[in-house]
Symmetry: C2
Subunit: 236 residues, 2 copies
């Protein structure tokens, strides 16, 4: 029996708050793998650093090999479990999915993040909130509230950059074609992060993306409704 | 012997001026196919409409079947020549390539087009220029020159939206991974359209995209330097 361990970021009441962990959670399910989960808090940074030589989760351990960075983990799972359903479906699929990954993390992610920024501490454990706020505010050079002050005005630009998703999902049920694969898990993980991290429902605020909303519903329902486990933002 | 005919848009002195035709030109070469080329001008719209029921090129005829729209043509070639090198590499690759296609045509293409708009009539046959100008100016609601008046100021935004390409090509030689495939032909076709359509070298104007420049050079060199055939913009 293969030893698989998944170090996954958790927040308030064990909510899953990391988009990078969500895409790996779905990748494990896609491959039919059920790793042992180690719940990881921001305060666990020293343990994570000792294990992996860096401070970010997710991390997996597989038969003693430690892999960090969600893309590297997905590639590891694809290469080491080639007989399980494919995440990429070959070299071309892997290459183009990498492009989708970099688009998602450098274009979509920052635009979604600004939308939920002041709400996000609410899904962290109370003792993690000060660290989150001070580290992010140092990075941003302003308060979370100041950084998000233009979020309503930014909605049209966010909808515009989601338009390729809307067009794709108007033609085919998943970003990866007729069935979900890793490109879907990448993009879904960001909408899921927004959904858990804020009471604002981003897709209700952007009614011009109905195919994305329908797809998100399908994605939430995969693997016995995995996207609905672990709770949403505690509404005020 | 299969009968294959490729109706391809041409401009001044038989320059290939259509990004949609360029991606299909590369797709044919990728598959090792050498269709009969029918050079098509804007003035040939009646012939095109009789043939395909619509007015756009490229169009292919394959054993009597007429296919229009570059994506449909690429899918047709992939499905009907499955033993030739793959453009998509399976269902996942096809799905994610479709997303890349829609991103390229709705995000990258309009941003590149505005950069070269006033120069583009210079690569059309003189007798096509008035049609091009009047139809595009009607669409834009202003002159080509007015529409492009902010093109220098728009360069940082163009470079920003190309950043996922730069990041991807910093990690892997082609958008499709270790070898070029249809996603590369799609994105390349737009840079090639800009390169042929204007004396402005867009990648010289955006030095923050060195990996994209190197990739464009590789793409130009494929298939015996196909990207350098058919001429560039006649410099002033």
């Amino acid at each position: 029996m293969t030893a698989l361990i998944f170090h996954e970021r958790i927040g308030l009441e064990r909510r899953r708050i990391s988009p990078f962990s969500w895409r790996i959670r779905y990748a494990f399910a896609h491959k039919g793998l059920t790793p042992e989960v180690v719940e990881t808090r921001f305060a666990d940074v020293d343990r994570i650093r000792r294990l992996s030589g860096q401070h970010m989760v997710p991390i997996i351990e597989h038969d003693g090999t430690v892999v960090h960075d969600s893309w590297s983990i997905a590639c590891h799972l694809e290469d080491r479990f080639p007989d399980a359903p494919p995440l990429f479906g070959g070299g071309i699929g892997r290459g183009v999915t990498r492009m989708a990954n970099l688009w998602a993390d450098t274009v979509l992610s920052p635009a979604l993040r600004i939308q939920i920024l002041p709400d996000f501490p609410g899904v962290l454990m109370p003792e993690d909130r000060a660290y989150y706020r001070s580290s992010r505010e140092a990075e941003l050079g302003m308060t979370l509230e100041e950084a998000a002050s233009g979020r309503d005005a930014a909605l049209p630009a966010l909808a515009a950059l989601c338009r390729p998703l809307q067009l794709t999902l108007s033609e085919q049920p998943f970003l990866s074609g007729t069935a979900p694969a890793y490109a879907d898990y990448i993009v879904f993980s960001l909408f899921q992060y927004a959904r858990i991290g804020s009471p604002r429902d981003m897709l209700a605020l952007m009614p011009e993306l109905p195919a994305v909303l329908d797809w998100r519903t399908r994605m939430i329902g995969l693997f016995d409704g995995m996207g609905d486990r672990f709770g949403l933002h505690p509404r005020n």
